[in-house]
Every structure is written in structure tokens, then in C-alpha cells.
Symmetry: C2
Amino acid sequence: MEQHKLMIPGPVDLTPEVLKETGRPPMGHRTPDFDEILTQCWEDLKYVYQTKNDVILITASGTAAMDAAVASTIEEGDEFVCIGSGKFGERFSLIVKSYGGIAKDVPVEWGKTFDVDAVEKVVAKSNAKAITLTHNETSTGVVHDAESIGKIAKEHDCLFILDAITSLGGDEVKTDAWGVDICTGGSQKCLAAPAGLSTVAVSEKAWEVIESNHTKNYYLNLASYRKSLKKNTTPFTPSVNLIYGLSMALKQIREEGLENRIKRHRTLARATRAAARAMNLELFADPGAASNTVTSIKNPEGFTDDGLRGEVKRKFNILMAGGQEHVKGKIFRIGHMGNVRQPELESVISALETVLHDGGHDLEKGAGLAAAREVFKETG
Amino acid sequence: MEQHKLMIPGPVDLTPEVLKETGRPPMGHRTPDFDEILTQCWEDLKYVYQTKNDVILITASGTAAMDAAVASTIEEGDEFVCIGSGKFGERFSLIVKSYGGIAKDVPVEWGKTFDVDAVEKVVAKSNAKAITLTHNETSTGVVHDAESIGKIAKEHDCLFILDAITSLGGDEVKTDAWGVDICTGGSQKCLAAPAGLSTVAVSEKAWEVIESNHTKNYYLNLASYRKSLKKNTTPFTPSVNLIYGLSMALKQIREEGLENRIKRHRTLARATRAAARAMNLELFADPGAASNTVTSIKNPEGFTDDGLRGEVKRKFNILMAGGQEHVKGKIFRIGHMGNVRQPELESVISALETVLHDGGHDLEKGAGLAAAREVFKETG
């Protein structure tokens, strides 16, 4: 089995230090030593979330955190306004319905962002207990304006549930300043830790709802996690090895500095878009709302998904992501999150140039790389 | 931070090979290479479960598998007969109630096993959709006769949900022969893989219920896992690193052979009990139902939990488990599961002897170790 360079929107390649920690012999999970590691993770997560709120750690994938956010606040018949716009934003709607809630969907065309007034209208017309949004939609490569939804939630006195799984630690996520009540994160995205952990930041306003809620879930009941949080522990056995890995990943984020890290991701995104344009490729996401952690590009004419992504994988050992659901085979996606830096991005651009050129796509060889380098040069 | 030898009922110490795999660079989780690792894990798990049924892998702790079993089969108002007898058996009752189900509890004194007729009576009197049981109850050190409950479930045509989290891979779990419809397992117990994965074996009879059920859970809806299983994948991002570790742990179980492994655990349990008796300690669990993966022992007079377990930890770097809930401070527990063999067991017995002797407990020094060795000698 060959190891491919991961240029997908998570899981991402891990640093040697994170890998080493992940493979360390586990300690007892109910010991003062482990409590210390856990509480340090919580503190580091607060820094990344830019929050003073509690941050919960769940041993499970990101979707579990989205599920926990809904399950812990919903009662049968409650109305949740769910902003669509991609596979993950739309997932909230499915979760709400699975608990007997009423999802007031605000559909958004894939690749575009929402119209704030349209969202406001739906919220005003419904008896919304919460508004849900996926901040950075990897299925379309769009980042949404979460701040404006925070304002609507405040005006209409409902909860704001934000899925920041693929932006947290890579792009700006101002949990407190934006008025996010429940904000979810995932370990294997911009945090650059191994997959299998998810995080939830919870505001006091949300805790009030959660603690009086008849939650229809046991493992993902946030109230249990808060009770344990107060005792510096977790309600169920945590994955000690994954928490070792996350702990080191968070240390490395502190060392880089959140501001530098966000700047790096934004530069990578700009460079990717510039390279795509220089290679005569069409971007899928609205230019005004293009994600800083993943770039979605339309498959050029004459290339199947296998003819493009498959060739890059086989010839250059680099894994990019394909399209999902109805854009499957129509777009491909380059993840530039976590530990990706200029060299990794240049490899994928260079590989793309070769495969496109060999397949007869009209492009000037080297133009993509040159355009990316120009962006890196500008930003230092 | 010091590394303690783990003699607790999970998480357990891992082999160097499992640790190495756990810390390997992750591959893409939607690739043929990863699908292959996943399907091999499923096959190996069938071997350990002694089943021809589907086995599901969930990225989450063992409690999530118990939650998934209930959430995927229950509708509001459904009656579930929940056999108590310890912290984990009783947990089923809480899960049932959290989904609006009616738990018909069969309470069993901690340290004892159930009376089959008493269970049968409760089932006969109720409109039971399912019977739940924790096979091996680590909180009390008791292993229950799951086979007899399987017979009752069959007679009354209800589902049999068995939590085998702390017996699977260490003691006999005959999923098919015992008529278990949903059987849960955890990675960090007798399977000797890192914590953070749980497993669920599901019978055809259970799938019929699950697929027509209005599940009140999204992440833990077993129907989604089956749909993905058919495509050799998972519905949500799996923890690639943990699955690497589990994959190696299962390979090592195949190499040892399930029969040998079960025999090893039974010998360890017998040796532990013999040593405890030789050290003038009183066993907590009913002798007829003592667990083969964990031994519960009453704290001897004159010893606090810290005076006994604390001393063993500080002086000998060995971690044992204390009592939980109402037996906290009254019992301690020695986990002998996963990779524990004669040398590890001898270390903890020897440490106990010293601490007990130094604390004034009436025992003949060396008697515990001798009694254990006698058992190992007998069984070869």
C-alpha cells in the first residue's frame, strides 16, 4: 500500500510529533495525570475557538458533535431554521428531523452563499428555537458569513448553532464575538490531529436550554459532558491515544500562533485560486465566498474524474477530493488545511499542470505554479 | 509523568506492534486501500464474535454502541426488560428511558448474578420488545449466563441485546449460538486496541426491526452503518489511526487463536482468585459467577482505598481500579484482560502482598504468589 499525500479536506497529514504522541502507550483515563492533559486541551481549544465558554471533547467524528448540538437542545415539534448550501449544512436538517423536530430549510444553491434577508425572513416567520449553519462548506468550497447569522439569532432570541468543523484552527472562528451558542469542531481538519475526536463550545444561554431539555440521546447528551467537565474528566472512556495526538497538535497551533495560522491558510487559498485561473480552470465557488481551507474547481471539458484526479493519484501519489452528491464527477476539490504549506501546494499544482497538459487541456505549462508563487511572494 | 502498568478493566496496555500501527501516517478514508483494511477488520471481528452476522464499527466509546443498540430499535413507549446488576447493566435502563422507552428493570444485587426464573417472570408479564444484559459486569466482577437469557428472548420472541464490551475477545461470547441479536464490543478491553472504537454485531431479526424503526438518533443510527457496510465503507469519517491499531490487535488475536486466548484469560482469573484467597482477602463476586477478565476484591479491614491502591500505584507503578458508585472505597478491582500474562499478574500480586504486609494485614508473605503459580503450573 502506498502512502498518498493528503490534499483532501480532511483527514489531513499529521506532523511526526503528533504521530509520535498518538502512538504513545496509553495511561489510565481516570488519573490526575490524564486530567491534566485533558484540561490543557480544553484551554487550548478555547484559544482556537476564541471563546470564554466551556469546550467539550467527544470521542467520535464531527457529525456526532452536530448531532449532540441538536439532540441536546431539541424537543419534539421544535422549529429549527437550517441553512442548506451543501452536504453538511443540509445534514443539520436531517438531524433535526430524526429527533422529531421541524426543519425550516433555507436552501442555498451549491457553490453560492445565502442571502441574509432571505434567512431573516424565514426566521421572522417561524417560531425558531435555533438557527443552524455550516460555516465552511467543504462539499462546495464556500465559507459563509457566520457573523450576520449571529446577529439574526440575537435579534430573534434563538440559539445559533454553527458547524465550524472545517474552519476551526484554519480560518477565523470568533465564537463569542459572533454570538455562536453551540460551535462544533473536528480533530482531523485544520486542527491537524488524528480523526475520531470532535469538540463543542457551548454558551451559557445554550447551557440553560440544554439543562432543562428532555434529551433524546445518551452518549451525545451535552449535559453529561458538562457535569464531568466540572470534575476535569469525561462521562465515558475517552480515546487516550487520540487525545495525546490532539494535545500535541494544539501545542503546535499555539507555537505557530492562531493569527499566523489563519494568514497561512488564506494565502494558500489565494494561491490555489490564482493557480487554477492561470491553468484555465473554472472555480466552482462564488468568488466572494470562497473557502480558505478548501478550493473547489470544475472538471475541465474532456476530463473524467478518473482522468484527472485518478491520474494525479497514480502518477504523483497525491490524493485530491472529488465532488459529492449531485456535483460528483463535475468538480474536484483541493484541501489546503492543517499542515499544508507552500511546498505541498506547489506539488499538487505542478501535478495538475502535467496531467492537464498531457490530457490536451489548453494551458501554458508553468503558469499555474508561477501564479501561486506570485501570491506567496506578495504575502511574504 | 510516569507510565503505570495498567491492571484496570480497560483501557489496557497495548503491544508495541499495535502502538506502531496507531501512530502510522493516516491514509485517505475513502480509498480502496482503506476499504480493504476496514473489511478485514469486519471479518476478524466476526471470528471474535463467533457470528455470521454483520459487524458494525463505530468511531466512539463502548457506551455509544449500547446507545446505538437501543436508539436503533426503540420507539416511544416500547418496553425493554433491563437486567441490572451493576453500573453498566443499569446503564441500559437509563438509555431506554432517555428515548422515551419503558424500562422494566430486573434489579440484581451487586456481586451476584440473576435468577433466571425471576427474569423469565418479568419478561412474561411485560410486552417486552427486547431484553438487555451486560455480559461481563466490570463494576462488580461478575460474568452472567447470557445463554439462558438468549433462550428466554427466543421463547418470548423479543430481541436480545447483549453488552459484551468487556468479555469480547477475552471470554467466550457465542453471539449466534446464544441467539444474541445485538451484541456490543469495545476496542480498549480484551481486544487490546486503543480506546475510541466500538463494535456491534447485528442479527437479521434485529435488522428487520432497525430498518422499520423511527430512530431518534443520527450519528448512532445502525441503519446508516449497514447501508455503508454494503459499500465497504462507513457513513461518517472513521478514525483511521484507531482502525490501524485495531486491525493489528485483531491480527494478533488470530495469531494467538481465540480458544487459547479465552483459556489464558480463564487461567489468569483463577490465579488471581487463588492468590486473593491465599492473601486472606475476600472476593466480592459470587464464586459461581466470577468474571474471567476482572477480579473484584473487598478492601481488607484497616485499609483505605488510598492506603491500598494508592500505595501499589506509588510504590510499584501499577494501576488497579477502585470501586464505583455505592461500593466506592469498599472494593478494588484487578483487570487481567488483553495482553496480561503470568509476569504482569505476578507483579501486581507481589505488590499487593508487600503493601498488605507493611500495612499490618494478616498474611503469610509469598502465599499469594505461590497460589497463583500453582494455578499456572496446573494449566500449563
